[in-house]
Symmetry: C2
Subunit: 344 residues, 2 copies
DNA sequence: TAACAAAGTGGAATCGGTTACACTCGAACC
DNA sequence: GGTTCGAGTGTAACCGATTCCACTTTGTTA
């Protein structure tokens, strides 16, 4: 109905000056008599007064807020990450503004502009595109930039928190090689992302180390969002010599890929071993329970918030933190059946 | 390094007054000569200037922003909702500030306070607790409040967008009754939420309409978050006369309930028919594919954004919008096997 | 008793934008 | 040739908080 109360209204109602009200508001910023404090609190109550952040932010720096810019909340991995970041930030009294880019570079640029003009103290992000200029600019604005999960080489000032994707891919590949697989399908995210590239690199390096000729036909780089997981899986299965094992190194596309597998009636693990780079509640529900790579979301979140709130010791270079992923072997991987092992 | 540029710096660099810069900033707010505009734009570029929202918000009302207060981003249903809301809002040029309550009333209250002092134009929320006072207060601040999915009776001024939960529960129950089930387990969210209550009501009403004595032992109301789905499922299975069908009317707990089912080695649907109130990619992956109730997330989001941005015609009462849910029958429901149908 | 410290208070400047209003200037009109 | 108009510009007030500083009122100490 009426206009919201301001600090002046409260001061008037309590019969004091605005300075006193402000001191009550920011406890410890100056002396206030018990009587005055009481009357001010009462007045605030009566007028249901809420200080406007806009005014506060204008005068003092931004109230401690960090931006969280995720590629896709729909992706359970990112959703869990968001959950952890919010919890972590809260425990330090920091607000989180969450924004989604939906893997769209234009959206990302917009969100970045918003974050910049909001002068948040830090931004935690899973960068989609090389909006290098925008990122750099954010850094210039003395906003801490932390890339989590993926990162951009072109933005050296940003901190990075991630699992060792190359090593994880190596571990997954080793596991399959030890079981006796030689033709391994590898579905990953776009090579334009560090996750896609590192995982692919790790996979190829491991094959090479075991003297296996990598077939580029067995590698599929698909977008994180969308339904291409099914197609990728389909085309791999239709080959004359289909792979005996497959690594789904793309968090978001695992579901659509697995659906295709189910439709095709392929038996897991007897006909095909499956490893998924993801750790969702349902991976255990799938029959058979899936062998997965688990990312320590809590830890990623904790480190990210840490870095986002810390002052940069050196303005030009970011810090890099690697955390360990956990490889969980369940029932979806097994030795290839004899019939399918080729003569070599 | 140096302090970020202000409008005055830009004005000085371009050799004009701040008023001119402001006019360039807010195109259409006044005349600016082509030359001046050019110089201002150049200066903004050079100084990499970004207007501070805090200052803008202080003078004019809040820039068009809506708050989205979700109970749990980890819950895929809410994640999809968030995704849709962001997309929808974006298409109208509105920013979304997403916050999570994690089903914690205290967190919710905090988030509400933040939203209030941020003076967003509207808030879309899935209320957790009866923070009735805080909600009411938000409404007093001429902030539109829209409850989506769940709502609170105690906050009449809020708009509501939801599926018809009672009707949906009725539909699910009818389906099972038609198949011949008589003992139906019903796992829902807390009765303190409207979703939990409506779904339970619909279920019980349907039983009554068919002359079936409802057994309170077959109803389990558990929190949305956490792992109690497994326990609820377990205790139902351990009964002397276990249900022949079960409805998991709790989006978030379906996974943990199903996991228990899998562990117990119960065959679906021959030993137990299952209906889930949720529509996740993995419900199709589960073997057998699950019969589900699908909520039209896009529609819920579109209406919510609509209402959040609209001016309230009447300040005292909110509007209610029901959208239709779609019941998808797949393979997890079937007639109970004869052996299990009791004598009645 | 004078001097001084500390507690309590209020006035006024400040943050960085927006905007009402006054002003200049040249073109158009009668 | 004076009036009117509108385009283009600048000055200054304002939004609602924080905060520095000066001031008064006490209590304490030499």
């Amino acid at each position: 109905m009426t206009k919201p109360a301001t600090i002046r209204d409260v001061a008037a109602a309590a019969g004091v000056s605005i300075a006193v009200v402000s001191r009550v508001l920011n406890d410890g910023s100056g002396p206030v008599s018990a009587g005055a404090r009481q009357r001010v609190l009462q007045a605030m109550q009566d007028l249901s007064y809420r200080p406007r952040v806009a005014a506060r932010e204008l005068k003092s720096g931004p109230t401690s807020t960090i931006g969280l810019l995720l590629a896709d909340v729909t992706n359970p991995f990112f959703a869990r990450l968001a959950d952890s970041v919010v919890r972590e930030a809260r425990s330090r009294g920091v607000q989180v503004v969450l924004m989604t880019t939906q893997e769209d570079p234009r959206l990302e640029e917009e969100a970045l502009a918003t974050l910049a003009s909001r002068r948040v103290s830090g931004v935690i992000a899973t960068p989609t595109a090389t909006n290098a200029g925008a990122w750099q600019h954010l850094g210039d604005l003395q906003t801490r930039v932390v890339f989590v999960d993926r990162y951009l080489d072109s933005v050296p000032l940003a901190d990075v928190v991630s699992i060792d994707n190359e090593r994880s891919a190596r571990e997954a590949t080793e596991h399959l090689l030890e079981l006796g697989h030689r033709r391994i399908g590898f579905v990953s995210g776009p090579l334009s992302t560090t996750t896609g590239r590192s995982r692919t690199d790790g996979h190829l390096a491991t094959l090479a180390a075991h003297g296996i000729e990598p077939e580029s036909e067995l590698l599929r780089n698909i977008p994180f969002r969308g339904d291409q997981g099914a197609d990728a899986m389909g085309s791999l299965l239709e080959r004359d010599d289909p792979p005996t094992a497959i690594i789904l190194a793309n968090t978001a596309q695992a579901v659509s890929g697995l659906r295709r597998l189910r439709q095709a009636g392929v038996k897991v693990p007897s006909e095909l071993s499956v490893v998924v780079f993801d750790d969702n509640p349902w991976t255990e529900l799938f029959a058979p329970a899936l062998t997965i790579m688990r990312q320590p979301t809590e830890l990623l979140a904790a480190h990210s918030v840490d870095l986002a709130l810390s002052q940069q010791p050196d303005a030009t270079a970011g810090r890099t933190l690697m955390v360990e992923a956990e490889f969980v072997v369940r029932s979806s991987t097994a030795a290839p059946t004899a019939a399918r092992v080729p003569s070599n």
